[in-house]
């Protein structure tokens, strides 16, 4: 007969079996947790801190991300750089800057493109084109510059290089885009040549079509054949973001996230944490094209020449801030 060792009272029938069941359940849970950790390890690696200077710049308002269960607006600064061989990898210009603003309360997303030639005050540095902020101080300075100039609180950033963009597009199986104009460029930078200085000829017909990563990059990057120059490029970049979102919306998140992360490690940097990333991925899944709004500041800037002869854009900040208040309501910094 079985007895309880503590009391000497005979154990109830089946208590040993219960203990084994409990132990088995714990072991199974540990195996599952271990499995999940191994499975998600690429995602965790991608989300490790990347920026060597992630701190804020002194004296600049810093935006704290709202809690996960909040309905407050979340702003993400998307940065894109030419990171082929011809540039110093620790001093890349941010040739693409887009604020993606997510409003969970209205289930709306706004994409605001910031032109790279815009002349701004860069905290702690002389005034310069906005694309220089990332080269001079990484994501922290780019974020601080945007917050100071535009009064938009930036909660997170995500940086992607050329290869990263190509991989993202290929990973979602290509994108479906309506190419607005024929794209012709006899001097398109051959990003993946050994020197980084080569050029190649590019042609994309106009109209709806399916593009792989390489051709999608050509579409958003070429500007020699576009009279709208950088503004034209901003329109195309937002088009591509929308197309990626629509394509990714049909993907299986459970299986896609780790594979995605493995592909992108080294080509993407972000300070988004896993919880927020997952929350945003779930949010984006249910997003309809009509919920996404494209915004540009072309009506509030004019061409000018800097003292050193650079071609720049100067903003009418009063009018621009009024426009931003229309876009973001009371969610701007004071």
């Amino acid at each position: 007969m079985n007895h309880s060792p503590a009391t000497g009272v005979p154990a109830a029938p089946g208590s040993h079996r219960l203990r084994w069941v409990a132990l088995g359940a714990i072991a199974l849970a540990l195996v599952l947790i271990g499995g999940v950790l191994i499975y998600l390890s690429p995602v965790l690696a991608l989300l490790e801190p990347h920026d060597p200077s992630p701190g804020r710049v002194a004296g600049v308002p810093a935006a704290t991300p709202p809690p996960l269960d909040s309905k407050q607006r979340i702003n993400i600064l998307l940065l894109g750089s030419d990171n082929d061989q011809k540039f110093r990898q620790d001093a890349l210009l941010a040739q693409t800057m887009i604020v993606v603003s997510i409003d969970p309360s209205t289930h709306q997303v706004t994409m605001l493109s910031l032109p790279r030639d815009l002349w701004v005050e860069i905290p702690g540095h002389p005034s310069a084109k906005i694309d220089l902020a990332y080269a001079q101080g990484g994501a922290a300075l780019a974020r601080a510059t945007v917050e100071k100039a535009f009064k938009i609180p930036i909660h997170y950033y995500a940086w992607v290089g050329l290869n990263g963009l190509v991989r993202v597009v290929d990973r979602v199986g290509g994108v479906d885009l309506d190419v607005l104009h024929p794209v012709l460029d006899d001097n398109y930078p051959n990003d993946f040549s050994d020197s980084g200085y080569g050029t190649e000829r590019v042609y994309l017909a106009a109209g709806p079509q399916h593009l792989d990563g390489r051709h999608a990059l050509q579409y958003v990057r070429s500007r020699h054949g576009d009279l709208l120059s950088d503004f034209g490029r901003s329109v195309r970049q937002q088009q591509l973001l929308l197309a990626i979102q629509q394509r990714a919306a049909g993907m299986d998140l459970v299986t896609a996230l780790p594979t995605f992360a493995k592909d992108l490690n080294g080509h993407v940097k972000t300070d988004l944490d896993l919880a927020r990333l997952t929350q945003l991925a779930l949010f984006m899944r249910d997003l309809h094209p009509a919920d996404v709004h494209q915004a540009f500041i072309s009506a509030y800037v004019r061409d000018a020449t800097a003292a050193d002869g650079q071609q720049i854009l100067l903003a009418d900040w009063t009018a621009l801030h009024a426009y931003l208040r229309q876009l973001f309501g009371g969610d701007l910094l004071p």
Partner: protein
Amino acid sequence: MNRRFAAVALSAMLALAGCTSSTPVAHDPGRVVRPVKQVSVPGRLYATKGRALYRFSGTQLTRLRFGSRVKDPAVTLTGDRVAVAQLQDQSSTIVVSDPNGQNRQVLTPSSAAAGSLWAFAPGFDRAGHRIVYLTDRGKQPSSPQNLQPNDLGVWSYDLTTGQSRRLVQPVAYTGGDSDPGYRPGVSDQLIYTTYLYGGVPTEPVARLTWMSLRTGATVYLSPETGRNFEPALSPDGRFVAFIRAGAGSDDLYVMPLVPTYTREPRPYPSESAALIQSGIIAQPVWAPDGSAIAFLMLTKGSFDLFILPIGMDNAIHAAGAAQAVTHGSFLDADSRLAWSP
């Protein structure tokens, strides 16, 4: 460690929330797939996939051996000759062959003094004596230090004399013109798309353009804003099918076309065009007898080939539902279709 716990918790959340998609993203199967219930294609309909040329006829599908990558097939009225843009690494040429891709003849040069050349979108005239096409021939040499435009203009090639000549000078830095085609039934009219910029704030514009080859005069058939493109003339030359970009869609419209214009018509003919099919549609082409329009339509992440019957009693209209000729095939939506008897 918190990060690890968050990972586990979120994975469980994801799994429990049923985040596996009910409509998985389609990926290119690498071949042309036909639906279980196959549509019989009257005549011979040409399309490309992965830059290879395919011919649909009845329920038969044939891959034509061109020996290289091609796009933009065109065919004569009788179907005895096919033209394509043959792609090389950094250039392309117009090539004519018999319907099986044999007896090929290269018509246009792949390079000139200014460098490599593009040539795309060939189209035969009714007699099969001339080809209209796009090229950047005539451009200035360009380098990163001395950028020059290389927009595509409309040219013609005379198959009897072997002479080429420019018909339309493109506006610089617009991408140039596109989708040229002779008007059936007459020998001196051309329809194409002009790419421009317009509106406030400035945005890309695509305008349907009619040209008299006799006088060189051009008339716009669509407004100075918006994008109306990829015109395709009916076999009798009385109607133009085209694509109009809308909010998140590229819909198929058809408008009538009077024999000649002496001045710019207002309202523009495109404004009274009939909506024939909604969706994300590309590359319309008429059946040789005018009874249907074939096009490529984005369906579940893939551009597939559809045929839509057209009725002309009282007003032009869709005479039934579009029928899918392919399914999940990822056909090249930037490449034209061609259809012969």
